[in-house]
Amino acid sequence: MPVRVLENTAPSQVSAANSGQSSLQFCSLLGVGQAFSGTQNVSSLQKDEAWRVNVRIQGCDLEHGYLCGTMEALNVPMADTPVVTFWEGEIVDTKNYTFFTGKWEATPEDDIRHWTKFPSFSPLLGQVEVDGGKSLDLSNYPYIFMRWKEQYFVNVGTDCGLTIAGFYYVCFSCSDGSISGFYYDPNSSPFQKLELKSTNDGRSGFSFSSYELQ
């Protein structure tokens, strides 16, 4: 059934098409090799703290709604070196993945509670509450929603004092390449905010490398 996004403020790019099955468009700022840096706010009632974070995209497969890369936390308390993790992302394209996580201890209520933290999500809320957004066509939407799940520690052991049990709700802006996210883990501080911006390694412009798997 065709579904119309109800809000009048909905950006024109949100299609009410009945397909709901097209892959998202490629965005060069989210391609392999792209780097982002920023912070993750880990504040709680007891402390006010933020880690510096670098992210680099290592793989992107829009057909399968897949993205992966590494995340480096720089000034982690009690860690001698920066801590690097490898993460895999699910792109909410309504074909491979919807807004409902359906795993990692996240209920639809948890999902809605986190997604609504992103202002760009509000035009989609109505339909997502109905079917997780399955009938939405996001192929021209200027934001890409994702879940990033850290899979393993790259340079430290699991006894480093950090946990990767949770995952991030992520929103990427196709226009300026900025990323915001919220870490979700029922056993950690709620709504730890991730804020990243596209970086250019000190160049006077943007540089793009690439590889091609066989």
Partner: protein, 710 residues
């Protein structure tokens, strides 16, 4: 040992007394056979045949004629000759070593000469004919050297001629021998486009003699390759006739299935006709044969159904039949003979490029099944090759398959096979490694960058077989993408030198794969690694590769330059080595109206250079927009106006970097870009249909407008 099953001909069981005694008479009084219905056989002669009956025996026989058996085979006494032929025939049946021995001795021309000298209308020559025909067939069975010898001895036209004999036994023997010959790739190609030939083939298929229908099917299996050949067999009744054999004997069923597959493979038109035959009963019969008690019949039925399924999206698409095909083929892997060997190849053709079938196979525990097959020792090279290729197809798309593969011990077995004696096995092992190393998660974890794997693969770069080299390059291309900057294991293996050598190969498949491997190695690598590759490759070689005659090599070479000049700003200098020979080559290639892929890589290379300092930006500016050029016809506009989204995006990134506001020379470059009509073109892209292009165009305009809008 790999034994091709060779049926004992009835005539081989005839006792000596029946040949030399009165028993022979009875053969000539047998009732007339259906052979009389056959039209005269067409003049079929193998292209390789130069000898005729008049010129036999050949020189090889002559030089060895001192051997007693050769003397007896060429004896003037027909009884001595007959006994000798029979003796040779009985020696060689099912014995490859003895076949090769007698072939080397020159026995085939001698037997062929005996056949040529015999009189097919003479009662006394009957046994000699049957025995020599059976001996020739036996030489040809499963041994290509035997087929060559029979063809070179000029026996082929005689065998064809004997199909018109009035004697059933002669016809049977000739048909059996010809079937043996047609099982070899060396058999002469049958020309279906000659009217006489197609009529002769149809008469074979119409016959009630099982050997003749089998020969007809064998000819189709051997010679039907092109769609034109498939169509002629469809529309002259051969397809229909072959389907009626599905209800025949075991042998008829099997040859029918195999020949039907040859006619319909990759031919939607033929499949349409086949599916409609007998109101769809032919297809139903084959579906039923998937459950036959004989493994070979089950395999051939599966192969036929895979042809139907792969060539059309209309038939056999339900999950039930797909699951059955997967399960039956996995079961057939348990067959220890030829069926088990072929099952994995059929499995590959079923799942290749099809994610849904790969998932079904994964759910059916296919990885575990292939793992258990690999644990049986020793395995025939054909079996190993098939299993590795099947695993490669299974792991080509789905991460769950790759994870399952890596969590078992299959990887070790595949790596062991990199040193196998058989080049096909080495190739298949490399292809399997290439497929499983598409897992970014495991690449990033350094799972494949081990000394053992890397050193063995690098050694294969100098393999004598080009297929092995290409397959090894494919695996290396993936494995070097380990997301680590130093690539120390690969550096230590000496692989860079080997890769650079292969970029100079005459074979373009080697060149393109070698350049791709180096390009991948340069992805996000450090200064030291870049330096080693640059010194080994040299700027002039890179410039030559950019201008390679093959567009695929050009594309990879430009992507290599793109990666070279990425990273720290210092890296941009590589493009300016040797008086800017690389940069000039990039510019020349972009002006040649390159393919979209070449254009994308070339533009990103320039974009990366333009993200450097003022000097770098000005060099790109001068390359793309020289002062002397006609400003109303800039070649760069073709990229901004391309229909390809990625090419337009790449072109805008170049402009974004040239107009980077913090650069001191940005204003001057913007003035120039305006004069070339670039700014007005970008304004037209403000609402581009591609979101990435639209946002980059807006970004570029925002930068330009900071210097004023005129």
């Amino acid at each position: 040992m790999y034994l091709i099953k060779e049926p004992l001909s009835p005539s081989s069981a005839i006792s000596l007394s029946s040949i030399v005694g009165c028993g022979t008479r009875s053969f000539f009084h047998s009732p007339p056979s259906t052979l009389h219905e056959l039209p005269p056989p067409p003049s079929l002669s193998p292209p390789t045949t130069t000898a005729t009956s008049a010129t036999m025996p050949t020189s090889s026989a002559a030089t060895l004629s001192s051997d007693p058996i050769l003397d007896r085979l060429s004896s003037d006494d027909s009884e001595i000759k007959l006994i000798a032929i029979r003796e040779v025939k009985n020696h060689i049946i099912g014995n490859r070593t003895k076949k090769l021995f007698y072939i080397k001795l020159g026995a085939v021309p001698a037997v062929a000469a005996a056949l040529a000298d015999s009189d097919s209308n003479s009662d006394s020559d009957f046994n000699l004919i049957v025995q020599s025909v059976a001996a020739l067939g036996s030489f040809a069975c499963g041994v290509d050297a035997g087929v060559s010898a029979v063809l070179e001895a000029g026996a082929f036209p005689h065998l064809i001629g004997l199909l018109s004999s009035s004697n059933d036994k002669v016809v049977d023997a000739a048909a059996r021998s010809l079937r043996m010959i047609y099982q070899s790739k060396l058999a002469p190609k049958y020309d279906f486009f000659q009217r006489d030939n197609i009529e002769f083939l149809l008469s074979l298929l119409r016959s009630e003699n099982e050997n003749l229908t089998g020969l007809g099917a064998g000819i189709v299996i051997h010679s039907c390759e092109t769609s034109a050949e498939q169509n002629i067999l469809c529309y002259t009744g051969a397809l229909e006739k072959l389907t009626t054999l599905l209800s025949g004997s075991l042998s008829q069923r099997d040859s029918s299935l195999e020949s039907l597959a040859a006619i319909i493979k990759n031919n939607p038109e033929a499949i349409c006709k086949f599916v409609d035959l007998h109101s769809g009963r032919a297809l139903s019969s084959i579906t039923e044969l998937m459950k036959d008690r004989y493994p070979r019949t089950r395999l051939l039925a599966c192969m036929c159904l895979i042809c139907v399924k792969n060539s059309s999206s209309s038939y056999l698409q339900d999950i039930g039949i797909k699951t059955k095909l997967v399960n039956i083929l996995l079961e057939l892997l348990d067959d220890s003979g030829q069926v088990g060997d072929e099952a994995s190849f059929a499995f590959s053709s079923l799942i290749a490029e099809k994610e849904d079938l790969q998932k079904l196979a994964f759910d059916a525990n296919a990885i575990d099944k292939f793992h258990s097959v690999l644990q049986k020792h020793p395995l025939h090279p054909k079996r190993l090759e098939g299993v590795f290729l099947a695993l490669a197809d299974l792991c080509s798309k789905l991460e769950c398959c790759r994870s399952s593969f890596l969590s078992s011990q299959v990887l070790n077995l595949v790596v062991d096979a990199l040193t196998h004696d058989d080049a096909s096995v080495r190739t298949a092992a490399c292809i399997c490694l290439r497929s499983v190393s598409r897992s970014i998660k495991n690449l990033s974890a350094g799972r494949f960058m081990s000394e053992r794997i890397v050193f063995l693969l690098v050694r294969l770069l100098s393999d004598l077989s080009t297929s092995v080299q290409v397959a090894s390059l494919g695996a290396i291309s993936n494995i070097v993408v380990d997301f680590l900057p130093h690539k120390s294991t690969f550096m230590q293996s000496g692989g860079v030198k080997e890769l650079v050598q292969l970029t100079k190969a005459m074979d373009s498949s080697l060149r393109v794969n070698a350049v791709r491997a180096l390009r991948n190695m340069l992805f996000q690598t450090d200064k030291m690694c870049k330096e080693v590759i640059f010194v080994e490759l040299t700027a002039s070689s890179m410039a030559s590769l950019i201008c390679d005659p093959e567009p695929s090599v050009q594309e990879q070479a430009l992507a290599l330059v793109r990666n070279f000049v990425d990273g720290c700003v210092y890296s941009v200098e590589y493009a300016f080595a040797e008086d800017g020979i690389i940069l000039d080559a990039v510019g020349r290639q972009l002006r040649k109206s390159p393919t979209v892929e070449v254009g994308i890589q070339g533009l990103y290379a320039l974009s990366n250079i333009a993200s450097g300092n003022e000097f770098h930006k000005d060099a790109v500016m001068q390359l793309l927009f020289p002062q002397a050029e006609n400003r109303s016809q800039s070649f760069f506009n073709q990229f901004l106006q391309s229909n390809d989204n990625h090419l337009r995006t790449a072109a805008i990134w170049v402009i974004i970097n040239l107009t980077f506001p913090e650069s001191p020379g940005a204003f001057g470059r913007i003035v120039n870009l305006r004069s070339f009509g670039i700014v007005s073109q970008i304004k037209k892209m403000f609402n581009d249909s591609c979101m990435d292009v639209k946002f980059r165009a807006r970004f570029a305009l925002a930068q330009i407008i900071t210097f004023g809008d005129s």
